[in-house]
């Protein structure tokens, strides 16, 4: 009953992830201070915000790699941080994650990287593993690169391999950590297209953490804007562009000054200048 209630998210839609009252701090630094959000099943949800707002941390909290100071995270009806290790690992088999760096195993070639989760979690015969791997690589357009080592791949190719590996076990949900950072326009276009198409074709739920506004907004069904440990705005991307929030406008339009000040907090400039030759 509790799970059924928890699975009902925004607008009565089915939520595959529900975050309630999330508090997380590192030392004395508060990363999240009472964050609530819902990730709806079958949708692409964007989590956007400036660098250092804890977007990647949020993915690690959802994946159970970090433990919140307070609050709950329910994924597919299961409270992630109350699960025993065995159950958490079982839940993770239903999630895929694409890391910013790709996180490919450097001693394995592309084929073996994609085959890795299949071999670890199933007893399928090698011929079937081969077919599955080739299907996943075909989906990301890298079947021809199956024999390459990670060091031989460009940044965009490495992320596509990581994407193929993330969907290797046909998960219910894929988490993308900064998928567009540092990509050339062609690679970026490919990744944008793949995230949307794979989500729709495979019936996935996707969470895209990014600060690349245009690309992310182009494929997201819903977006959350995070800053200073809180959700500062949320809505369909086209609605966010019209948001009355000064912070949202500054972030989405890339304005150098605004609610997020250009200057790092400091004492008055005059005081520093009047200090003369004395060092700080």
């Amino acid at each position: 009953m509790e799970n059924a209630v928890r699975e009902t998210g925004r607008n009565g839609q089915q939520a595959v992830v529900q975050v309630r009252g999330l508090v997380f701090s590192r030392g004395e630094r508060m990363i999240f201070d009472g964050v609530d959000l819902d990730i709806e099943r079958g949708k692409v949800t964007a989590i956007m915000g400036p660098s250092g707002t804890g977007k990647t941390t949020l993915l690690k909290l959802i994946g159970g790699q970090l433990r919140p100071t307070a609050g709950t995270i329910v994924v597919d009806g299961e409270n992630v941080h109350e699960l025993a290790t065995r159950d958490l690992y079982r839940l993770r088999q239903r999630m895929g994650m694409m890391f910013q760096s790709g996180a490919l195993l450097t001693d394995l070639d592309v084929y073996a990287n994609v085959a890795f989760p299949i071999r670890e979690h199933t007893d399928l015969p090698e011929t079937l593993v081969r077919d599955l791997v080739l299907m996943k690589l075909q989906a990301v357009g890298l079947r021809g690169a199956a024999g390459l080592m990670p060091a031989e791949l460009s940044g965009g190719m490495a992320r596509r391999v990581a994407m193929a590996r993330a969907i290797a076990l046909d998960p219910m949900m894929v988490l993308y950590d900064e998928p567009f950072t540092g990509q050339d326009p062609i690679s970026m276009g490919i990744l944008v297209k793949l995230i949307r198409e794979l989500n729709d074709a495979l019936g996935l739920t996707s969470i895209v953490v990014s600060h690349d506004v245009q690309e992310t907004a182009a494929i997201a069904d819903y977006a959350y804007l995070l800053s200073d440990g809180k959700v500062v705005d949320q809505g369909a991307p086209e609605m966010l562009w019209k948001s009355a929030s000064d912070w949202s406008q500054q972030f989405l339009n890339g304005e150098p000054d605004g609610p997020v000040a250009f200057h790092y907090p400091a004492r008055p400039f005059r005081d520093d200048l009047m200090q003369g030759g004395r060092s700080r």
Partner: protein
């Protein structure tokens, strides 16, 4: 102000004991993962190659030279007493009881231990371990335990090889170059080196050193700060801590085994 150094000392003490605790918990987790490797021997065999076989060359060369030096030094001392025919005993006992396990462990830390730390540390820095966790694969079972077992198996074998090659090095110098009697060299060695007191105790030492060396190496890698500087520091710590632990433990074990 006065309390600052005290506070710092307290902080360092807490950090030290915290790390010590993490190291022991990590060891428990690793040991718990070892039985599962029976079903996946391929993982251990692959590591036996990179941890053991690739360390063989440095062990062979070092063992030979250490044995040659022992032969030369032993001869120069023994010849003054007309006891040069005991050279075989001196060389064999020095190697089997002490130098074999100790020097092999120090070389193991320098070659294989540092490589293990750097490899696991870099896997952490490049999010490969994190990636495995998210693929529901436990890095301790998949990455750490096979390396731990391979190191534990390799170390006694490497120490034995070191001692054997060292004896031949001493033989080459003593018998081949300095003219010690061939028969006396081997027969005295056979008569004076005891299987239980000397050889088995040496083997026990090499098992203990192997356990400690590989534990330090994999823990330092797993616990590294995931930056290039962090990996560099962890690698250095592996070599330094292993050297200190091996030499300290050698004294304790020697006292227990040979002290009357």
């Amino acid at each position: 102000m006065i309390l600052d150094p005290l506070q710092q000392l307290g902080r360092k003490g807490l950090a030290y004991f915290g790390r010590l605790g993490r190291g022991h918990l990590f060891l428990m987790q690793t040991l718990a993962a070892v039985p599962g490797l029976v079903l996946r021997p391929g993982l251990v065999i692959r590591q036996l190659h990179s941890v053991g076989v690739l360390t063989l060359l440095i062990i062979l060369v070092s063992g030979l030279f250490v044995g040659m030096v022992l032969g030369l030094q032993g001869y120069n001392t023994l010849v003054d007493f007309g006891a040069e025919e005991s050279l075989g005993v001196v060389v064999a006992l020095s190697l089997v009881r002490e130098l074999g396990p100790v020097v092999a462990a120090l070389l193991f830390a320098g070659r294989a231990g540092s490589a293990l730390t750097a490899e696991i540390g870099l896997m952490k820095a490049t999010e490969q371990l994190s990636g495995m966790e998210m693929m529901a694969v436990d890095p301790i079972r998949r990455v750490v335990a096979p390396r731990f077992v391979a190191g534990f198996i390799s170390m006694p074998l490497l120490a034995a090889i070191f001692s054997i090659v060292g004896v031949y090095g001493g033989y080459f110098v003593g018998v081949g170059l300095l003219g010690v009697d061939d028969g006396a060299f081997w027969s005295q060695m056979q008569a004076k080196v005891d299987l239980n007191d000397d050889v088995y105790n040496g083997v026990i030492k090499s098992f203990v050193f192997g356990f400690v060396a590989v534990w330090i190496a994999v823990f330092e890698g797993y616990d590294t700060v995931p930056t290039s500087e962090g990996v560099s520091r962890a690698t250095t710590r592996t070599v330094v801590h292993t050297a200190l632990a091996v030499l300290g433990l050698d004294f304790v074990l020697t006292a227990l085994m040979f002290g009357d």
